[in-house]
Symmetry: C2
Subunit: 306 residues, 2 copies
Amino acid sequence: MKSIRVFCPGTIANVSCGFDVLGLSLAGVGEYMTVTQTPTKGITISEITGQDLPLETAKNVAGVAGLALLEALGSEAGFDIKIEKKIKAGSGIGSSAASSAGAVWAINHLLGNPYTTIELIPFAMEGERLASGVAHADNVAPALLGGFTLVRSTDPLDVVSLPSPRELYATVIHPQIEIKTADSRRILKSSLSLKDAITQWGNVGGLVAGLYREDYELIGRSLQDVVIEPVRSILIPGFDEIKAAALNAGAMGCGISGSGPSVFALSKGADKAHEVAQQLKEVYTPMGIPFDIHISNINEKGVYPA
Amino acid sequence: MKSIRVFCPGTIANVSCGFDVLGLSLAGVGEYMTVTQTPTKGITISEITGQDLPLETAKNVAGVAGLALLEALGSEAGFDIKIEKKIKAGSGIGSSAASSAGAVWAINHLLGNPYTTIELIPFAMEGERLASGVAHADNVAPALLGGFTLVRSTDPLDVVSLPSPRELYATVIHPQIEIKTADSRRILKSSLSLKDAITQWGNVGGLVAGLYREDYELIGRSLQDVVIEPVRSILIPGFDEIKAAALNAGAMGCGISGSGPSVFALSKGADKAHEVAQQLKEVYTPMGIPFDIHISNINEKGVYPA
């Protein structure tokens, strides 16, 4: 039977100013998935390594996303999925989105690409709905399309691919505590001041312009979040120290990755991203907080055969 | 003595989704100003035609903006200003900004350009402070720089020039009622829902991306305002009918110009902008509302010698 193994990228949603609309895809953080066509209609998940996640199709984000795609196609095809899980669930770097995106991309590929990649986003969003209760697109869009993406609107869905400046590197530190996306959304305030909203949409405009201009200074000045970060950062141990250390080390900006607890910093160049990583380690190590740390450039391809 | 006559463009602030941050400069709407060096330190305003506005320097936006520039330079120079006022005060197409921008540009020019054009923005903003009580930059930035501008931040001031797609035309209809900017700001709510804020910053991102991509469809989809327009439009006679007529005629988008009462529509191509104008006239004429109407492409130069 036909089979494909794909790389499923980790993603940073929100990117400071762009809550629920911006996201970027990581080249050096992600996991692998092997999808094999089977003679039996539907989806099975025969193996998950690296993490204890449900194999039952209806309870697994890859299963749910894949089924949504097959149902839309009215397909009689069957697929088995094996997942080599590397991104921890609840890390804030798009663990569920990686699996959801990988499954729909691989199944679509094995079926001869009845959908374009951008058309796959709504199916992958069904995985997000299972994971967090909300079918958000800010992780699955960059996971599928690669690079930076803007979700201009979710209803109707309108996703725009933005350019990714070549020298942009992310440093991502994941303190080993779990924050569920659903909990992290619950603490948000349902309203904000017009003044803060103006600050935020000025920064969204600045960040998008900075990406097109490849203006690292402008990108850096735009990486500010006056709305979500002040609330969510209280759930992240040592957030203020981590952010100060990243900026002192020369990062362009630093904020919460998705709903946290991972914190990301963006830097110009790999060397700077490594320096930032070193400084971040020196914050968490004496605090006794266990962590993973990743340094990665931007993945421009999205999901791809690996 | 040295003298220069300049064109001072009208401007559309906010551009639907970008309240307080976005603006664009009009090629076919504006006024003229002649600035002449004098032997006496300070600024005089010897003539204003077309409108009844104060000649007293401290009460005139051009005078106040010019003085702010001279004071920053510690200059002993003197200038006289003659204004051929063509944009009506309180129209919502940047009447005060045109005069403020023209004065500082012309004086700076006659002094040998001690400041770059972008550096002149804070001086022109002093004229806006006199006119409306708030030193906002969303009209003076496009008036000075031309094209589309983004005011990413006012404190510190950070203004970004955005590209202006060539085929973009504005139709602007000005119902002859006066709304003072200060009043128009007063009716705004001081807070908004997070949901609406997300919609708005998604659209700001989409509009900026659309300008860079020269993607007229994306620009059109992004020209939406769920925050300010629902409140301010109640002050504008026949707003809903005007907007429906513009969109029915094929405009990409339609919204309130600045704080109103002018309403703008953006279209692809001059022909379409003329068709839109025809439809807008057919709304106001039977309603008995007197109006001015303008059709203009984007002015890419800002203030310029004329």
